[in-house]
Symmetry: C2
Subunit: 386 residues, 2 copies
């Protein structure tokens, strides 16, 4: 098989490589000490002399550190390339953009598929239950190791948005602004339910073996089913109707339960592909971290935001039924109640939850203006302080 | 284990039993001849002398012929008991109510788990791919065997509603009225997608063995996952939030991926329970029949309704996102375009798709008045004809 030649889109950040930051470890929110930890990350653009132009980008459930440019070994364009580069929303001529992976994952950071130094075998289910807050604690070590005292902004969609909220609550003095996109203060029972069914599909797979599958075949079918469920929830009724309709495939000798409809073929393809690039145990740990996440810690969210001085841009999408707009409105409302300078914007998209990756023009407009304002106010304050 | 004592609700039809109608068979819509066929059914109330008071009730994906009263052997109340009985929406003092099961199922009618007389083994995947239209053709044999020339009404929700539409299109002279509830002319890609993931979950189960599991353990985990997906789609975001919130269960020694949240426990319970009463291959065949269903046969639906004289009451529910109200509006619109006397009613419920089983008061009001009108017009016509 020859590699497909990928042509870099315009205004790209060029060839990139993933870097790895290793450190002793952290105290998890459970109280347990855990380490050593490695975090995979990428950077695009240059840190300025005052180290005040750093943007931290955080990814969703199945994302990774490769957010922009061409990764030569992976032969892949970054997952948010449309938003990161010279002249783009996250303008690499102005900002130093950092994208950090998460602990618990399988994309170069310490997770259940990593080797446990105590046993020289993969952790599997000996990996501790981690939280969104733990992911953020590890990221804080990374940011400090880069010499950054305060981030210009922290931005992310979906689970990335949960990390954004966690940064805001845990380290309010470390962020000048936040951009939570298509996310929630905490999961509703419906969101938990979709994740739970995905987990059940994985654990139902005979190859899962209570997580001890690293020396044999992986629970491929279960993980594929989990991913298929995910894909349905990422699209909208309308976007599916537009993309697939009731188009049927043609088969010479159809099996009774063949993927007759195009949407079936799409889901099977997406499910099978996912298995090649994602670890089933990571899927369990990360979805559980999402379900357990509660940025408000049981209190009204605005109370937890008391000490926050950061500005906020909260973005939601009309057709997103997995993270419905009312959840983003709750974030914006709590910000305003706690005196945060917050803007709420609901983009009129038909793409469903996927919109945060696809509504590039609208997001670029909103974000580039928001960041200009944050920078302007920071510089004005600097002039004032002199 | 002692049986839980079930107390019959008020205005019940008493102790009932399921009956079985066997006949030679039918020509399937595929052209294939198939038989012999047995259909399970129940009846409540008495057929009048003119045999003009028969109501045919059709069930959803996992339903059965036991719609009302107490089934002594099953120790179970019928699935629509709240709607069927003396003085209820389907008033057994006035109407003879018949509930028919479907071919392809596993509730006493011929399906993939039935013994193939040619091999003396269960059909498994040798069972032919059946359609909603085939289910209805078999039901027509049952109705004729009961001496009924024309049904007062045919009613059903979800897949039951598809059968209603199929009765209307295939046998327009056999029905005086129809009541399709929370249903669709054809499945959208999103509806197909949810069914497909359920099928994939079943076929991913190592015990499925291409359908040949009848002599060993059944694909229980896969079928349970399929059912869990179903249950999420039957409820609404709001009804889940009201029922479960983020209540957590307490465990002395929690497994990492325990059902912490009540919604998780609920889904696992529902999934496991379903396996005891449903056949995985039936789940495949019936969901495929639903996905392949297209009452409009590729034409505008109103064109297929040209010869229809029946009246129609089309019911949808505001929070039903699996069969959204726009799909019922399409049915009502096509009825009106073809000159059918049709009423559309959208009930303001928060129960999601389950509402068709739960919004008893509103449905009773609508349906009892509708049936009175159908009877009145029929009797007026009778007087006029004399």
């Amino acid at each position: 098989m020859t590699k497909e030649k990928i042509i870099l889109p315009e205004n790209n950040v060029g060839i990139v490589k993933t870097e790895y930051f290793s450190f002793n470890g952290i105290t998890l929110e459970s109280g347990e000490k855990f380490g050593p930890i490695t975090l995979a990350y990428e950077t695009y653009g240059k840190l300025n002399a005052s180290k005040s132009n750093a943007v931290l980008i955080l990814h969703a459930l199945s994302g990774d550190a490769h957010a922009a440019g061409l990764h030569a070994e992976q032969n892949a364009i970054g997952w948010w390339d449309s938003m990161i580069g010279p002249g783009k929303a996250f303008d690499t001529n102005k900002y130093c953009v950092i994208c950090s992976n998460v602990i618990g994952g399988c994309k170069g950071s310490t997770g259940p598929s990593s080797v446990n130094p105590k046993t020289n075998k993969p952790y599997a289910l000996d990996f501790p239950l981690i939280t969104i807050g733990d992911m953020v604690t590890a990221q804080k070590h990374l940011i400090e190791s880069l010499g950054i005292e305060k981030l210009l902004t922290v931005v992310g969609g979906s689970m990335g948005g949960m990390q954004v909220l966690s940064w805001l609550v845990k380290y309010p003095r470390k962020v000048r602004s936040v951009i939570p996109i298509a996310t929630a203060i905490k999961h509703s029972p419906q969101q938990i339910a979709f994740n739970e069914v995905g987990r059940q599909a994985i654990m139902a797979d005979a190859y899962w073996k209570s997580g001890n599958y690293y020396e044999g075949p992986v629970p491929a079918k279960g993980l594929a089913v989990a991913r298929m469920i995910g894909h349905i929830t990422y699209m909208s009724d309308i976007s599916m109707a537009e993309k697939f309709g009731r188009q049927k495939k043609n088969y010479a000798e159809p099996f009774k339960f063949t993927a007759d409809f195009e949407v079936e073929g799409y889901l099977r393809y997406r499910g099978d592909n996912f298995v090649k690039r994602f670890d089933a145990n990571s899927y369990l740990y990360i979805t559980k971290a999402m379900d357990n996440f509660d940025a408000s810690k049981g209190k009204p969210f605005y109370e937890v935001l008391k000490d926050v001085e950061a500005k906020a841009l909260v973005v939601a999408f009309k057709s997103d039924w997995l993270y419905p707009a009312y959840q983003s409105k709750e974030i914006a409302k709590a910000c305003k109640l706690s005196g945060i300078d917050a803007t709420y914007c609901e983009i009129d998209s038909t793409y469903g939850h996927d919109a945060f990756l696809l509504e590039v023009a609208e997001e670029t407009h909103l974000i580039s203006h928001f960041l200009k304002k944050v920078v302007f106010e920071y510089e004005a304050k600097g002039r004032h302080d002199k």
